[in-house]
Each structure stands twice: as structure tokens, then as C-alpha cells.
């Protein structure tokens, strides 16, 4: 546990000292801010027209439902683009620099190394997400009324989603010494897991349910609506554990006697 904490601390310090992490966070927040502003603006235009045209039927516009669900889905897609850029250096950089060899010959288990790295990547993801809370708080300050249960649930979903992206990113980082290859592999695989849900709509019942079950964004969508399904939580826990386990086995493969 001590070793995992040391690795977490070391990796976090390195991330926080490197400008690409800040650049990625700045891009993420700028785009997320734009999304939020756009959704809010669209909502105010629609609600103004509804209010000024009494002959139109009010479909029951709700600020939380209209803005937040789309906003959190958009943040999820943004994370899909940004987190591979954060996780790519976890092992690939260490392998390229030669520090991985020293790291794996300390008297600590591969699991401790992995946990330390996973938590640091995950935390960086969460630190990037955290300022988005400010957008919602500002909207609330200027008169918006939100359902805070939905907000908390959505942030819970975002935590799980970024954990899943981090776990997958660690695997792709462990299999190569090129950060670019790691980011591309991670990005490609995550897009596939996203798109798999689209194909489901074209198929009949049982394959569709199966593909829906695999799609990471289908499981995340419920959280953005304030719905907590145990199967969604289990999916994310399984996803994170599965990819961490494969990464651990991959790191341990050097010890296989040939």
C-alpha cells in the first residue's frame, strides 16, 4: 500500500509538473464550457419563445433534464478524447525512458505499481472534471434551478466513466513504448465501445441487447439522467477490474519462463 501510494504521489507530481497536462485540461474545460453555454443558451431561447407564444403548447421544459443530460453526455465524449492523452504516458514513457525496469525491480508487487499509476491517472481525470461544477454553480447563482440529485448522480457516473477510460488507457500504455500508439489504441477502442451502441439500433432483439450491454456510453447515459442502476455500476466495476487485471498480467508476462 505504501509503495502504491509512493508511485501515485510520484506520478501525480510528474503530471502536475508537465505542461501538456495543463494544456489538455485547458482544452477540455474550454470545450466543456462552450457546450454548457450553448445548451443554456438554447434552453433560454426555446423557453423564451414558448413563454412569448401562448398558442404553443409547453412540453414541460425542465432545466435539469434539458441541459444537464446532454452536457454530461458531451463531457463523457470529451473525456474519451482527452483521457487517452493523459494515460498514454503511464507505462509507455517509463518503458521508453528505461525507468520501468528500475520500477519493476523494487521490492514491490506489480499490482502495487499498477494501482499507484491507475489512481494517479484517474485523479488527474477527476481534477479536470471538477471545475465543470463551477459552470452549474454559476448557472444556479444566476437563477437556474437544478435537481442536485441528478447532478450528483451524473458526477458519480463521470467518476466511473473516467475510471474505465483510465484502466483501458493503462493497458494500451503498457503494451507499447510509444505514447502516440498508446493514445491511438486507447482512443480507437473507446470509440468502438461507444459506437457499438449505435449499431444495436439496427439489429433485432437479442444481438441489440447484447451490443447495448457492451456499449460504455449506454451504461453511462442512465447516470446523466439521474438514474442509478446496479447493473451499470457492476458494468463499470467489471470494466475497470478486467482491464487492470489484463494490464497486471501483461506486466507480469516478463516473468513467464520461456
Amino acid at each position: 500500500m505504501n509503495a502504491a501510494f509512493s508511485i501515485f504521489r510520484k506520478d501525480l507530481a510528474i503530471y502536475l509538473k508537465s505542461y501538456p497536462a495543463y494544456l489538455a485540461a485547458a482544452i477540455f474545460l474550454a470545450i466543456a464550457g462552450y457546450f454548457f453555454y450553448w445548451e443554456l443558451n438554447y434552453f433560454s431561447v426555446v423557453s423564451y419563445r414558448l413563454a412569448s407564444s401562448p398558442h404553443l403548447t409547453n412540453p414541460g421544459l425542465n432545466l435539469t433534464e434539458s441541459i444537464l443530460s446532454t452536457f454530461f453526455m458531451n463531457i463523457g465524449v470529451l473525456l474519451l478524447l482527452i483521457l487517452p492523452l493523459i494515460s498514454m504516458r503511464a507505462f509507455a514513457e517509463e518503458r521508453k525512458m528505461g525507468t520501468l525496469e528500475a520500477l519493476l525491480t523494487y521490492p514491490v508487487s506489480d499490482a502495487a505499481v499498477l494501482v499507484g499509476k491507475f489512481v494517479s491517472v484517474w485523479l488527474i481525470g477527476l481534477l479536470m472534471i471538477a471545475p465543470t461544477f463551477l459552470f452549474i454553480s454559476l448557472a444556479q447563482f444566476f437563477g437556474g434551478v437544478f435537481d442536485w440529485r441528478v447532478i450528483l448522480t451524473a458526477y458519480g457516473g463521470l467518476m466511473l466513466l473516467s475510471g474505465a477510460f483510465s484502466a483501458l488507457g493503462l493497458l494500451t500504455s503498457a503494451v507499447t513504448e510509444s505514447q502516440l500508439v498508446s493514445a491511438m489504441l486507447s482512443f480507437g477502442f473507446l470509440v468502438l465501445l461507444w459506437m457499438i451502441g449505435w449499431g444495436a439500433e439496427l439489429l433485432n432483439h437479442s444481438p441489440a441487447a447484447f451490443l447495448h450491454g457492451l456499449s460504455i456510453f449506454e451504461h453511462y447515459r442512465n447516470f446523466t439522467k439521474g438514474i442509478v442502476h446496479i447493473c451499470d455500476i457492476v458494468y463499470f466495476i467489471f470494466f475497470i477490474s478486467f482491464f487492470l487485471l489484463i494490464t497486471k498480467e501483461w506486466l507480469g508476462a516478463r516473468r513467464w519462463v520461456r
Binding site: N2, K10, A13, E101, A102, T105, Y106, P107, R254, R255
Partner: protein, 323 residues
């Protein structure tokens, strides 16, 4: 004590190490010498538990490495090839990280770090980023990461690689000072480095251990004990004729120089013949400048051991081919 027995490592069809056995006593400084691709790094990685051997065993202080991996790793300070470091960290941070990874905690971390930084002479730059340090200071910092936590065994892979001559001398002095009670195993492909630093030499070639002994014993073993070298002033033809008349002299080779000529005299038994050579040359009026048993350099030993191994392999191959 480190005891390595019948150690082999194969990467698919390639045998990186082939039945290597040797022992290293406590406090000994041993140099592993060999060309690139000889298996030095593979041997070091196995010794540090980075990966296991295909066959064979390693006992360190009586503990089997395969069964006591973490315990043994805690006894070892390892410097991998090219001394890798995190460029975004300072020497103090990186050595503290290494200390924590080796199990140091609380106030001990600071003490251990200070001790390692001072021992390696990086105290003055401990708060500067690694990326701003010279190659020499980076190497010292990397050695400090291996040294922190006072490991019983230091394993250093090419510790002077890429350094300029002045830095090489500094790092050599540092390693010599660090040894003390500690066992040091270092690899290099620089021949005179082992002569300056180590007490014993292991020569690896193509994954095989072709020699293992102290430098003086290797000089004795690989030197032809039956040769005498002489530096004589006088007409070479007459001198060669005279030398060949001496009982026990088998063959004479010579190289002409500006003042005197160098002669390599092959004998049946050098000790008794040497006195006779000296007497006859003086009697004949030639000026004998120097007469000695030729001392083998490390380069000679290395080349002889490698050639001997190649000849041995070639003979074995021919034997199998004829069967």
C-alpha cells in the same frame, strides 16, 4: 554471498545465457566484461529479479531468488543501463521516491536520502531538476537511487557509459568508495574499467562464461608461461642465430625498432633459459636492454579467452558434424 548455478536464459530460439555458474563473496567487487550482446544485461536483470532464468538457480545469502523475490530485491540496489531518471523531478525527490519504494518510511526517508545524496556528491544540486543537470550529476543521482536504503548488494549496469573521461574517473572513484562492506557487481564493455575497479572478472561471450578469476590469475592462465620478451641492441640476424643455439629455445620472433629490436623468445621452460640467454648475449657483446616475461594486458586476456571459447565451440561443432 551470491551463488549462481547453471543459469540459462532463452528468448525463443535465442540463448541469451548458457549454463553460467559463478560465486561472488560478500564485499567483493566483480566486473562482468563482454561485448554488446554477450548477455551482461540479461544476467543483471535475472540477478535483480526483473525476470526469471529459463533454468538454473541463484542463491543470495542462502535464499533462493525464485522463492524469496521481494526479500532479495530489498537487499539489492540496481542501476539499469543508461541510468534512467525522471527528468521532471529533482535528485532529492527521485532518491526519496527510491527510498520509499525500498520500504523506508517517515523520518528515515529524509536521513536515508541525505546520506545517499552526500555519498554520491549530489548534495549541492539536490533541488535542481534532473533535466538541467550534467550527465555526470545525472549518473551520480542514478547511483544514489541504487544506494539509498543501504542495500547489501549493488548491481550497476554500464555505470560509466556515455560519460566523458573526467566523469568516468569520478564515477569510478565513487563506486570504489561505495563498495566497503557491500558486494558490487558491475558490467562494462570497457576493458580497463574492470582492471581499475574490480577484484575479479567474469568474461561473457555469446551468453557463455568464458573466464572467471582475478586479473593476475587470468594473466597467469592466459599468458603463455613459456615466452620471454627481450629488447636487445645489435644486428638482428646474428642475435636470432645466437638465441636459437641456446638449449631450450624453440622459436624467436623479432620486431625492429629505431634503437633496439624487440624479441619474443618461445622456450621449453623459461626460468632456466632466461639466465642462459642473458649470459650468452652479454658474452657475445650485445647490449641487453630488457629481459622479462611478457605481461598480458586485459585486452590480451579478453581476446585470448574469447578466441579460446570460439575455438572450443568450433571443435565441438566439427565433432558433432563428423558424428
Amino acid at each position: 554471498m551470491i551463488k549462481v548455478e547453471n543459469l540459462s536464459k532463452a528468448f525463443g530460439p535465442v540463448k541469451a545465457l548458457d549454463s553460467i555458474s559463478f560465486q561472488v563473496e560478500r564485499g567483493e567487487i566483480v566486473g562482468i566484461l563482454g561485448p554488446n550482446g554477450a548477455g551482461k544485461t540479461t544476467l543483471m536483470r535475472i540477478l535483480t529479479g526483473f525476470f526469471p532464468p529459463t533454468t538454473g538457480s541463484i542463491l543470495i545469502d542462502g535464499l533462493d531468488l525464485s522463492k524469496n523475490l521481494r526479500k532479495i530485491q530489498a537487499m539489492i540496489g540496481y542501476l539499469p543501463e543508461s541510468a534512467p531518471l525522471y527528468k521532471e523531478m529533482t535528485p532529492e525527490e527521485i532518491v526519496a521516491f527510491s527510498a520509499r519504494m525500498k520500504g523506508s518510511a517517515g523520518r528515515n526517508v529524509k536521513k536515508d536520502v541525505e546520506r545517499a545524496l552526500e555519498a554520491c556528491g549530489v548534495g549541492s544540486v539536490k533541488n535542481r531538476l534532473i533535466s538541467t543537470l550534467s550527465k555526470g550529476f545525472r549518473q551520480r543521482t542514478a547511483i544514489a537511487t541504487a544506494l539509498v536504503g543501504s542495500p547489501k548488494i549493488l548491481i550497476l549496469d554500464e555505470p560509466t557509459s556515455g560519460l566523458d573521461p573526467e566523469q568516468i574517473v569520478e564515477i569510478r572513484d565513487l563506486i570504489r568508495n561505495l563498495s566497503g562492506e557491500r558486494t558490487v557487481i558491475l558490467s562494462t564493455h570497457i576493458l580497463h574499467e574492470v582492471a581499475h575497479l574490480t577484484e575479479r572478472i567474469l568474461i561473457l561471450q555469446n551468453g557463455r562464461l568464458v573466464a572467471s578469476d582475478r586479473l593476475e590469475n587470468l594473466q597467469e592462465a592466459f599468458g603463455s608461461g613459456f615466452e620471454i620478451s627481450a629488447s636487445i641492441i645489435g644486428p638482428t640476424e646474428k642475435i636470432v642465430e645466437l638465441l636459437l643455439q641456446i638449449p631450450g629455445v624453440l622459436e624467436v620472433e623479432f620486431t625492429e625498432r629505431e634503437n633496439s629490436s624487440e624479441y619474443l623468445i618461445k622456450t621449453e621452460e623459461p626460468d632456466s633459459v632466461r639466465a642462459e640467454i642473458s649470459r650468452r648475449l652479454v658474452e657475445a657483446g650485445f647490449e641487453l636492454v630488457e629481459l622479462k616475461k611478457p605481461e598480458l594486458t586485459l585486452e590480451d586476456i579478453y581476446l585470448k579467452s574469447v578466441r579460446k571459447n570460439a575455438a572450443h565451440r568450433s571443435a565441438r561443432a566439427q565433432k558433432f558434424a563428423s558424428v
